[in-house]
Amino acid sequence: QAPDECRLDQLNAIEPTNRVQSEAGLIEYWDPRDPQLQCAGVAMLRVTIRQNGLYLPTYSNGPIMAFVVQGQGVTGAVTSGCPETYQESQEFGQEQQDLRLKDMHQKVRQMRKGDVLVFTAGTAHWYHNDGNSPLVFVALVDVSNYGNQLDRILRTFHLAGSNPQLPERSLFAGFETEILAQSFNIRMETAEKLKNLDDSRGNIVNIPQKLQFVRPPTRGTTTEQREQYPGPWGEYDEEEYN
């Protein structure tokens, strides 16, 4: 910590100062130069994802702690080396021998109002609003954490999406198409699409049809319904399940 970073003569309640609008949502940032945030060594942001919005996978240079203020949704983190444990049932091909999984991916988690979510530095994660109201969460990024070895400026790396306002593009945009095609063993046209160069939707995009992925059923349908049946230790009644 630099010696002059915590000269706080007066404290103020502060609101976000920068807004980045995307197709299906909004990211608001508190001023990173604010003395209070600089003293604490953190960056703060507030994310609003509209219904059917998808916050494309990103990772940042510090650990993240987020709190869900409103709404519900789904989130996923892709952790290095972890297997794709959510698997869609096998389907048979024409010959009944071409056995393959329709899709498999890493674990996804439900998120709802009141949840705290954490992600380590460098872990790619995404959010999807599958509820009926905007999903809003406020997040702290601890840029002074040992996990961050860059400077104390919040840096967000995007696996997909681009934001012409900033300007910010996906990581793939910086690679040559040819070496990208080689790396993924895909066609050049597909590699070109990976770069998202003509995409102006921003980092939160609209999903025209409901986002399909493998996930277990949820208990109950609404928070209110669940709260009617608190168990002896505040847990929900599970008598309808074996």
Partner: protein
């Protein structure tokens, strides 16, 4: 008692021994990693390393360092390297030759491909348990995403999204076959 504890602790490890490789592909090459699990003193130093041998036209598949910087010093041959920063712009795109050093900062995405004579380098890492996240391959972040998310995120068909997720089955090293471009296997 120090003479039997601190003074005798292991301070060295040979990373050139091929039989010690942690990642090995007969077509592409090998990687030996050094961290605090195989050399405990590194926990105090918070440092690690990786020794990489690439055959001719082999690739270290695209990845980012989650929790460390990586300082790569080329000990033999030449390497084509592309490094991309957080805003999607290339921070480096070019050849790194024997005797040269290149920093790959934490979080920056990087692809490496050896030239015709192959390449070997040592990567110093500023974390004793440096973790790498792959962007392609069997254990990659892309493989861990739902196929529908990949399709929507990149505005590609479900079939193309499956190709992006599954066409590359290697984990970290792969032989680069220029003739394979444009003939993707489903």
């Amino acid at each position: 008692g120090l003479e039997e504890t601190v003074c005798t602790q292991r301070l060295q490890e040979n990373l050139d021994d091929p039989s010690r490789a942690d990642i090995y592909d007969p077509e592409a090459g090998r990687i030996s990693t050094l961290n605090s699990l195989n050399l405990p003193i590194l926990r105090r130093l918070r440092l690690g390393a990786a020794r990489v041998f690439l055959h001719r036209n082999a690739m270290v598949l695209p990845h980012w360092n989650m929790n460390a910087h990586s300082l790569m010093y080329v000990t033999g041959g030449r390497l084509w390297v592309e490094v991309v920063k957080s805003n999607g712009e290339a921070a480096f795109k070019g050849e790194v030759r024997q005797g040269q050093l290149l920093l790959v900062p934490q979080g920056f995405a990087v692809i490496k491909r050896s030239e015709s004579e192959g390449c070997e380098y040592i990567a110093f890492r500023t974390n004793d348990n440096a973790v790498v996240n792959m962007l392609t391959g069997r254990l990659s972040a892309m493989a861990g995403l739902p196929v529908g998310l990949v399709a929507n995120g990149f505005r590609v068909s479900l079939e193309e999204a499956r190709e992006i997720k599954y066409n590359r089955q290697e984990t970290m090293l792969a032989a680069a076959n220029p003739s394979a471009q444009g003939t993707a296997e489903a």
